[in-house]
């Protein structure tokens, strides 16, 4: 299978890339790892007239800790996240999710930022980013802006980038003490899309109550879902099985799964509930181990 014809450019700086994207407008599409875009182009679900390949731009492949954030550059591959001590110490939820992305070969090539920008509701990273409250950094010829992930993910395969903008990094808040994160994914086989994926994140305050809570859901709606009601139920409370069960029920309610080859909707909703409960319990057990 071949993609439809396109013009190809491989700029070597962000300035060059954004100038090209400004000129191309709607006709230009950024190519990073290509692990989602190229298959879509081969199936002719996407037919961009111009590809701007950013793989030759230096400095985009770095993971940095700065200003309380973990900055994930646009060319950081999933495998880089799997192998990063910085990620392990900065974001337990990202560290937990990374090995679940696609398969080892795809992880060597695909990028975190590309996956986030793709806005496929079956993609894992956007649930993680919604749970963590990450910002997407978009750069154009007029400068950069940070877009909260909730505003970045607009719809099914639709983000809020303006023509001429490219994602240059994602800023993930770094974990403090007493923080746990877990990504649970049910998949039929490695490399398949999630039947259901659940991202959970909690931070406890010094008094032992929940100071931060994040829950993101994969493959159970037209977009990745932030289970805001469930998160609100957790805040300010002492963690425990009963509380987690109520939050899980609320998250199940927030899910909007469809019946398909991966299972009936009610089954998926039940998995969401079970995984939210287990994910929160895993977060808590990480935090209690940290204290030892």
């Amino acid at each position: 299978m071949y993609p439809a014809s396109f013009d190809y450019t491989a700029p070597t700086s962000i300035e060059e890339a954004t100038a090209l994207l400004a000129e191309l407008g709607d006709e230009g599409r950024v190519l990073a790892g290509g692990q989602s875009l190229l298959p879509m182009m081969k199936l002719r679900l996407a037919q961009p007239a111009n590809l701007v390949d950013i793989n030759r731009i230096g400095g985009l492949d770095t993971l940095d800790a700065a200003n309380g954030h973990l900055e994930v550059g646009a060319l950081v591959r999933h495998a880089d996240v799997v192998n990063s001590d910085l990620v392990t110490s900065s974001s337990p939820l990202m560290a937990s999710a990374a090995p679940w992305i696609a398969d080892p070969l795809v992880r060597n090539r695909g990028t975190v930022c590309g996956s986030v920008a793709h806005c496929d509701p079956e993609g894992d990273w956007n649930s993680v980013m919604l749970a963590l409250g990450a910002d997407v950094v978009a750069t154009s010829t007029s400068g950069e802006r940070a877009i909260p992930i909730g505003e970045f993910v607009v719809d099914f395969f639709t983000n809020s980038l303006q023509p001429g903008e490219m994602v240059t990094s994602i800023r993930v808040p770094r974990a403090h003490d007493r923080t746990g994160g877990a990504y649970l994914k049910l998949e039929r086989k490695i490399g398949d899309y999630a039947t259901v994926g659940v991202a959970t994140h909690i931070r406890l305050d010094t008094d032992g109550t929940i100071g931060e809570a994040g829950i993101g859901l994969t493959s159970v709606g037209p977009i990745n879902i932030k289970a805001t009601e469930a998160e609100a139920m957790l805040l300010g409370q002492h963690p425990g099985d009963e509380l987690f069960a109520s939050a899980a029920a609320a998250a199940g309610h927030a899910a909007d799964p469809a019946s398909d080859i991966r299972g009936p909707a009610e089954y998926k909703r039940a998995v969401v509930e079970a995984y939210v409960r287990r994910g929160l319990a895993a977060c808590l057990s990480q935090i209690s181990q940290e204290g030892r």
Binding site: Y2, L31, P104, L105, G191
Partner: protein, 160 residues
């Protein structure tokens, strides 16, 4: 556009459209048929090549993106006329049946044991989880990769 890359240590150039996939470039423009096209949808790993040190699915990489890169294909495993330990082990341990997934399996296996010569069964299975064997001959594939790793480790020990 003209694309130049290094395949198994040899610099190769050919004309191709921007939309040419790396697997097609290798098979058609360069005439090297060891790299297979299986699913053509990033699922099966029959098209695996090692691109700048990392195994990837070459049906989902543009040839243009490999400009200037070092590519290793199954043809590059053999050294000075003798089989790479992974090839010898696949032969010895019946690591192939129909042979279709074999180039990808061997390249992923070789990449693994060059990093970690003594992987556990779980580590091998994890590493090859992006490669499908439709004959379902995984047991012998895993055995062959582990045996090749031992071979490499022993060779290193005796040369040290």
């Amino acid at each position: 556009m003209k694309i130049t890359l290094t395949v198994n240590g040899v610099t190769r150039s050919a004309e191709a459209e921007p939309r040419t996939l790396l697997v097609d470039f290798i098979r058609t423009q360069l005439g090297m048929r060891g790299t297979h096209i299986g699913c053509d949808t990033t699922s099966c790993g029959a098209c695996t090549v090692v691109l700048d040190g990392l195994p990837v699915k070459s049906c989902t990489v543009l040839a243009a993106q490999a400009e200037g890169a070092e590519v290793r294909t199954v043809e590059g495993l053999k050294q000075n006329g003798s089989l790479h330990p992974i090839q010898a082990a696949f032969k010895e341990h019946h690591g192939l049946q129909c042979g279709f997934c074999t180039p990808g399996m061997m390249l992923v296996g070789a990449s693994l044991i060059e990093r970690n010569p003594t992987p556990s069964e779980d580590e091998v299975r994890w590493e090859i989880s992006g490669n499908l064997c439709r004959c379902t001959g995984y047991m012998n594939i895993v055995k062959a990769i582990q045996a090749a790793g031992n071979e490499l480790a022993n060779a290193e020990e005796s040369s040290a």
